[in-house]
Symmetry: D3
């Protein structure tokens, strides 16, 4: 438990999907190995510890909530069993979700097309690789994705799968947009009014795609949708260590700012590919209500 | 001469303004030091050599043309004197131009405003520094400008002048646009219909500024305007060594593409600040005709 | 009953929320005080009388419908009890709705931000005042809102709560938009395709906000959503007494037109803040179906 | 059965609505007249045959699915009865749908307005004729709709109903848009993210209407919504016999291309008028889920 | 002289055209009546006094400059004669300009059209009245133009000329835009990149017209074009007495802001009607160079 | 003379360029063959006759004006010589212009690109054929261009030159826009604010190109620019014989409207290719002033 929490905190485990699954697994293990006397009480402590590692991560909250909701008043043993069961289900659904998204998204990728992707989204890559394996002749343009350059990982993954890939700097997106047929990116979180939070740079790629009438798709498992935004909360955008960008000493001690995500408005998004199908970003409200019900908005979590 | 040509070719001398001035100086020195017997003939060879180092650089062509036009049939000595005189004038006008642009542009920068700039444009920085020296309290956001990261030079220059500067990655432009009051960039070349060629990434910054109703200004000496575009030629956009981006081996041998410039359409530009004043990009035609006359369009240069 | 009807008709009671609550209260009182023998019949007459005072007011229809639907065939005494109960519930939900909207909307208002508001919406002001009470340092720009100048009331309310407020004429909205971080307005009615009907001027404010990428929120209780629009009806926009604008004699007997509301298209609206959470305007259909069911579209009210 | 299939294949029966109803009738007749011993098996064959005539027609798939879903394992006689019952219901609902759409849409058509329509949509014409019969003074501009010139049929139908109609070539849409108050068109199919597939030319009419702020409505029965798009499938756009356009010999043997439909993005559509009311195109997801449930997305039809 | 200066200062004389002509007349009278010994010196004092009354008025600077430029070193008597001659010419050209603008603009007004105008521009009204006198059947929608309500003057002028006029509040512009065929407004000043400065509210009218594809024309004599903007200066937008809006005491002592003008970007302007013909706003540079020459940009006026 | 006039009137001679050249030739022949005694008087009659055949054709007026301006008061013989000389020059310049436009425009056409063209413009085809002859591998998409189907002529011309050509109906432009790299069209006339008048349908093609960020070029000889628009005149758009579209009897006697041209706003035009080079449409004013001087605007032609 603590090990996982620490890895999330220090970003050894990163990315919305990986964090969610790590949390589910940690809770499953916590329940399996529990040998204390106050399971509910200790579970609450564990949840808070986990959650505290990245309180801005929507997928983390969603994973914990999915597994521990409505446990108040339950017997310890029953609660343990429930946690183990739900944690397994969460993990399975999460894996199934990526597979389904791959299957659905791949149908949008047509033979001979060029796809631009940003950063390193497992859901977006799943669709691309699936289309490639279906025998479609495709090309990918991958952005570098400064500061962490996850685009290099993307390029290596795609090349190793045999997908022809071109790497460009982030500034070159608009230059190459005329050669692009489709954009596929992932998501860290999605708000109730359809705004998508994803890796810094996503929103200007969406703007460039919109300007050139290139369809822009977001690949996102349903647990990326944020129920708390329904109740008015913003999804907080972290700023990380500025040395990820450059050592201030190298730029005359100029201030450096390093926000990790940005917000893409729904008007630039042609579809969100979820395990429930391709929806308009404006249907985010339904996806949230479907998963959590309306009451989620004002409810207080028992473990917080 | 050859030394300068070599430095332009190997990019020791880079940037439209620096190239133009180096060429003017090289021609001035060539004429001053000439001790052969066929000045015109040898000058033609020298011009071709210079021009061949960066045939896509509009400022280089303009500098050479300004200095050696209409020399055919002139006596050698007279021609030498003309070249020396014109080269000096070109250099002086070029320096005066930056100063005037600084003076004009600084008036657009108001107290308390935040300016975003891209890459490292001497004309754009001249306006910013001038405004700072005029006592205006300003802030600058400088983009990293991958792949060569000229934004670091910009940050260091501004910090050393005492201008508060924040450095961001290129992907973060849209994220920060809501804090920006003005965008100032330079130009490598300007086409007859108002399209501006500048450092890769400029056009998506312009798009983001336009989307958010932030005024976008281009600082450009008049010799950046391309007469050949009037006759239909495109300004060619070079692609440079891909290792400037990353070693292909590090990205699974993905293809890498590294275009240096991109094209910003005039509809996203609020004004071009030249030594002739602030004009709409749609007035590019007048600036070209004013400098070169209409005949430039189809004329063949004697030295080519 | 008649007194309330008269006050709605002569606009002593005005504003979608106040009208709805006054109608609920009037029906509650009507039922409580009823001493006749044909409650259902007389209730029908009362409903028609109430409704006739402002047949274009969506909130009035919704209030009456919520309270008296499906009473046909019920016993008089049972019906009376039902009416009393539902009227109370409507009033309570209506008050709760404003409170929830305030709570939700306040989370969107961040420290240091400037909010523009138009006319005098209790739901919009609830969010602003709530944010202020939460200790956020905010500023409000209030439009005059000709012809009735409800902006003066808004300014006085906000100033008395201690919120720093600036009043501007309606023509100055675009001029000040660059200083605005958020727009919050109310709604008189919302159509099934997401169009918002609100005080004249709202739609051009939304257009100015959209142009400048400033988020535009509508605060609206769910009973503002019009089920009849689902069936094709337009929301009728009244024109009121021209003397509210100016005496024709003072303008050379020019014709004067005085429409009260205008229609804002959903593409300019970033979110509608309801007691059910923040939704995209495109989710209006769900809100209507959720409240009234699909059959509302073609049903004939028994009391009409 | 075979006769109907043949007529669909050779386009004697054409148009999404007519195809759907012909299929329903064919299945009804098949079931009524069936005298074999393996009804389910033979029904499957019949469905495949019908479906094979126009596998790209969403309405055909929807009609068959609506009538034969979940028959696996049923007794032959029971299945026959179910098919007959559902086929009748489908036909009735389909007729009722057009009537309801007419009723709803007519309310959007105001006295004195000019409506532009394209091609020959029975649902769109139903609204126009209904408004005319309601006594509204209206005018229609009908496009020619090359290559098949269905606009001539539209013009004749409207003129015979007494509706003043003007015919224009397809190229003149933007020219006349300034005289247009409303656009009403039909749909062949609607995707889960709100994209509307309709007669070639529809999308540029929508673009012209959007440019001029003219409301653009699509009239579509709910069985036009494509559940398979939820699962990622594109709606395939057929290209038909090029001689519908011109004999290649008459144009120097130039290649001719003749796509039948195009795709209108939801951002240009103000409302879709269905028998369930006027919805935003972004509510397409709900209409699909409401009709088919979420499982439709991945299910395999038993008869395919 | 002083009387005129005082009237400009206290706004008895207001409006760019009236100020310019009053200044020309004042300088003419000053020269005619001069009986001192240092004409040039005293003229300089007079110019400064005049100019100081409204240093932000472009037309005032232009009028003075047109009349007194290049007088340095001239004999007193010669200078007096020059001033008288130029002042007369300025006045004549100014009157001719309005007439020509009326003549040109009237050709754009077609029979049966509805024109929206804002505030009270003599040049805009000249075109409208001219079209009316040419026998065209037209209608005008005049905005109130808060805070000074110059729309009432406009309405009275037009009604007294027999032009059918409708008065609306400023907030109703977008509501009525669908009935408008053309917008005609005046200008206080025009910048070198085509930005038009005019009465507060003009820019949001332009935005509404642009959104609805309604042509937007600015009527402006050539002396409205600001040569100083070529050199980078902004046109300063005054804020006037807040009591023009409302007494602060009536709005809970809220702050009130009262800017007089706003800036309309050239992209929303279809043409500027000057005495030199109808030009694109992007041709502002030529109009300035044509009138003043390029040197105006950096020159220091002798009298300042 | 009369024969040519008749051919223009009955449209045997059609197209702006052909009409202009036919007029020049007719005037040349008139002058050459003149054997009367009042050359100037008879020339005036001839000009009026010619002009009366198509008074809406800008190129016709420009051709006549270019040849007969300023002849008042000249001797008959001198005037005859002048007319012959100017007519020859006009014809030569007109031919040279198409050649230059071809040469300039061809440089914009890059290897491997697909060009969409509309109707049958000799200047646009000159650029395409020139590029093809320069060895560039290009493809053309030609629209049918209803009602006269000039696209068939275009397709035949291009195919006979060996240019791969695809013909589509006018409605399919937006559908194919994603495969288009460049649009090239001609012009009938160009207004002083940059509006281009060309074959009906041009403006919606421009809109589609703009939506998809595809460069849109107009090929136009300088005599297409209308000096009279500077003075406020609209370019009149003719409506021709409705039977060009369809026999009214075939469409239930619906009204048919058949406008020949439409107006493309300059904001959708990336460049106008003239014999003076590629200019922004906003430079139309300069082209007009350069050719005709400012006085043209109000002058009365002696021969009218």
């Amino acid at each position: 438990m603590l090990a996982v929490a620490e890895k999330i905190r220090n970003m050894e485990i990163r990315g919305a999907a990986r964090i969610a699954r790590a949390a589910a697994e940690a809770l499953e293990n916590f329940a399996k190995n529990y040998d204390g006397t106050d399971f509910i009480g200790d579970l609450g402590l564990a949840c808070r510890a986990l959650y505290g590692t990245r309180p801005t991560a929507v997928s983390l909250w969603n994973a914990i909530h999915s597994i521990v909701h409505d446990l108040e008043g339950m017997e310890n043993e029953e609660a343990r069993a429930v946690v183990i069961k739900r944690a397994k289900e969460f993990t399975e659904r999460s894996e199934m979700a990526v597979e389904r998204i791959g299957e659905i998204g791949a149908k949008r990728i047509f033979d001979g097309c060029t796809i631009l992707t940003h950063c390193n989204s497992s859901a977006a890559l799943a669709t691309i690789i699936r289309a490639h394996k279906d025998g479609k002749n495709i090309e990918v343009i991958a952005t570098e994705s400064r500061p962490k350059r996850q685009g290099y990982i993307t390029a290596r993954q795609l090349m190793s799968e045999g997908v022809r890939t071109t790497l460009i700097v982030d500034s070159a997106v608009r230059y190459f947009m005329k050669e692009v047929d489709l954009v596929f990116v992932g998501a860290d979180a999605i708000a109730s009014n359809g705004v998508v939070i994803n890796k810094i740079g996503t929103s200007q790629i969406a703007l460039c795609a919109h300007e050139a009438r290139v369809p822009f798709y977001v690949c996102a498992e349903s647990y990326k949708f944020s129920p708390k935004t329904l109740g008015g909360e913003y999804i907080k955008i972290e700023e990380r260590d500025v040395k990820e960008v450059v050592d201030p000493a190298d730029v005359g001690n100029a201030r450096i700012r390093n926000p990790v995500f940005d917000a893409t408005p729904p008007e630039y998004i042609d579809g969100i590919i979820t395990e429930y199908g391709i929806i308009s970003p404006y249907a985010a409200y339904e996806i949230i209500i479907h998963q959590f019900g309306q009451k989620i908005m004002f409810e207080k979590e028992w473990w917080l």
